[in-house]
């Protein structure tokens, strides 16, 4: 059975952009180990020569024209949704 260490949980949290509290790290360690322990049953299946199914109605790429479609949503409306902004842009902490 898969062993999940505390470091593994912290690594997964980092990959997932989650800054976990300590007590939550502990409980997630147990939960993730149990869940992976359950889903591991799939390893019993012989799937050699079987193609995976990612899409269930047989669609492949669906193309559309590369043209602007007006969905009736303005820049102002979208900007108003940002939690921190200036008059014409979204504010973020310094990146570089």
């Amino acid at each position: 059975m898969t062993q999940i260490s505390r470091d593994d949980v912290q690594h997964l949290a980092q990959l997932s952009s989650l800054q976990l509290a300590d007590d939550e790290t502990d409980s997630l360690q147990t939960d993730i180990e149990n869940i992976l322990g359950y889903v591991e049953q799939l390893s019993q299946l012989d799937t050699s020569g079987i193609e995976p199914t990612y899409q269930v109605t047989g669609l492949t790429n669906v193309w559309r024209d590369d043209s602007v479609i007006d969905y009736g949503v303005t820049r102002e409306t979208l900007l108003a949704l940002a939690p921190e902004k200036t008059t014409d842009s979204v504010k973020v902490p310094k990146v570089l």
Binding site: L12, S17, L18, I35, Q41, T47, I50, V90
Partner: protein, 456 residues
């Protein structure tokens, strides 16, 4: 129970007001997160003035709070979208509004639709319509309860692995998970894109069919939508129906099995042939589902970053801290579990063993379904191994909670339609649902079959 046709002889304003009065009288269930009262009354007045007409003119309805709709915030029952004001409406809502229907409120759900009990809502649990000590089911728990309480004749939900069917069965109403691609998901909070579907709760199969037919059809804003196939169906006589043996084992509550057997007997009396069938891959359904769906969740929920919309954590210094803290504070534990499981199964080194293996197993499952549909028009079984469980009963053990999805996830993985129809109650009076599963695009035929079995 109220039906859509009951609204023919009543003014729209009166219909909306009645629904709002019922909401006020049903607050203890905590089925709704917000009301769109002002907009609803405005639209009702426009219907009464003859400015809005259509097949559902003046009929009130409710949407799960993961549908973008005007008149109230869209929270997905999460903190990160608290107060999020939708800049547009979901195609499903737009199509219903175009036929004159009036949205009166937004229903509670497990945050981001992750769960099967509505206990994962960031805003408190919804109580079962029949027994308030029990769960409403989930994730579309609120939508099921408002339908069961006769507040509205129909309510929209989303079903990714059972989130319409299971609460429908727990509250004694009809629930439809259509063929994948039937209804546009544009404007609905994405969970797992390869199995997310839009469907409805209603009190009769005919009403459900009417609502689905209005919502169905191609939408250029959701590239996975299928051309409209959801016409009125004439019931096919003498159907061959398979009862899924794997779902009738001793692990399933005896009274649930009894109700399914009684339903099968009724089908026989109506001239259909019912036989036991095997679907061995179905026992791997939960395993496949809890690899594939978290993988897709981890990707779809990456967009909630506290930057462009939603709630941003305060007093952060760096960008990484902004992401990490906004997401930690904005998601419930179940969201985090699924995102992290998704990150795990998609990681290099584990991708083949988990994600690819699950997608291959999915092919084997689909092959078994297809083989059965060569012979059978429909498959039946329970919706859930138990009637509604008690609030808190499964909350501490995620694997136990996931196993409650065992009967619903397989139809989702195969993209086939599955409906939940009321089939009586247990001796305690708790509703039991029968699930009817068909091949892709047989949705209307399944509902016609269900309709033919309804009393009166």
């Amino acid at each position: 129970m109220v039906k859509i046709s009951d609204y023919n002889d009543i003014s729209a304003v009166e219909a909306v007001q009645q629904a709002l009065d019922k909401v006020a009288a049903s607050e203890s269930y905590h089925a709704l997160l917000s009301l769109t009262k002002e907009r609803a009354l405005e639209r009702a007045a426009a219907v009464d003035a003859g400015e809005i007409t259509g097949k559902l003119a003046g009929v009130p309805f409710v949407v799960k709070d993961n549908f973008l709709a005007f008149g109230a915030p869209t929270t997905a029952a999460s903190k990160i979208l608290e107060n999020f004001q939708a800049p547009l409406q979901a195609t499903a809502v737009e199509r219903l509004e175009a036929e004159g229907a009036i949205c009166i409120g937004k229903a509670n759900l497990d945050a981001f639709a992750h769960g099967g009990s509505t206990e994962n809502s960031a805003y408190g649990v919804t109580k079962n319509a029949i027994d308030q000590t029990r769960v409403a089911g989930g994730s579309s728990g609120g939508s099921a309860v408002v339908t069961a309480l006769d507040i509205v004749p129909f309510a929209l939900g989303t079903d990714t692995g059972g989130s319409i069917r299971q609460p429908a069965s727990f509250n004694g109403v009809v629930g439809v998970k259509p063929t994948y691609g039937t209804v546009s998901r544009y404007g609905v909070v994405a969970m797992a894109s390869s199995t997310d579907t839009i469907g409805t709760f209603a009190t009769t199969a005919d009403d459900a069919s009417l609502v689905m037919a209005i919502m169905a059809g191609k939408d250029e804003r959701d590239m996975t939508t299928l051309p409209d196939f959801f016409g009125a169906e004439v019931l096919k006589p003498a159907q061959k129906i398979g009862i899924i043996r794997e779902f009738m084992s001793d692990d399933v509550d005896e009274e649930v099995r009894d109700r399914v057997i009684e339903y099968a007997e009724k089908l026989k009396t109506a001239g259909h042939i019912v036989e036991e069938v095997n679907l061995p891959m179905i026992k791997y359904g939960v395993g496949m589902y809890y690899i594939i769906v978290p993988a897709e969740i981890s990707s779809n929920l990456a967009r909630y970053d506290g930057i462009r919309y939603g709630v941003r954590a305060q007093n952060v210094q760096t960008l990484a801290e902004l992401y990490g803290r906004s997401r930690d504070e904005g998601f419930v534990t179940e969201n985090k579990r699924r995102i992290m499981i998704g990150s795990y199964v998609l990681s290099s080194g584990y991708f083949d063993a988990y994600y690819q293996q699950a997608q291959k197993a999915r092919t084997l499952l689909i092959n078994e379904f297809n083989a059965l549909f060569e012979t059978y028009d429909a498959l039946i079984g329970p919706v859930s191994p138990t009637p509604a469980f008690r609030i808190g009963e499964n909350a501490e053990d995620p694997v136990k909670m996931y196993l409650a999805d065992i009967m619903t996830v397989s139809a989702s993985l195969a993209g086939v339609p599955a409906i939940s129809v009321p089939a009586g109650t247990t001796s305690d009076g708790l509703p039991v649902g029968v699930q009817i599963i068909g091949q892709q695009k047989s949705d209307a035929q399944l509902l016609a079959l269900a309709s033919s079995q309804e009393e009166n």
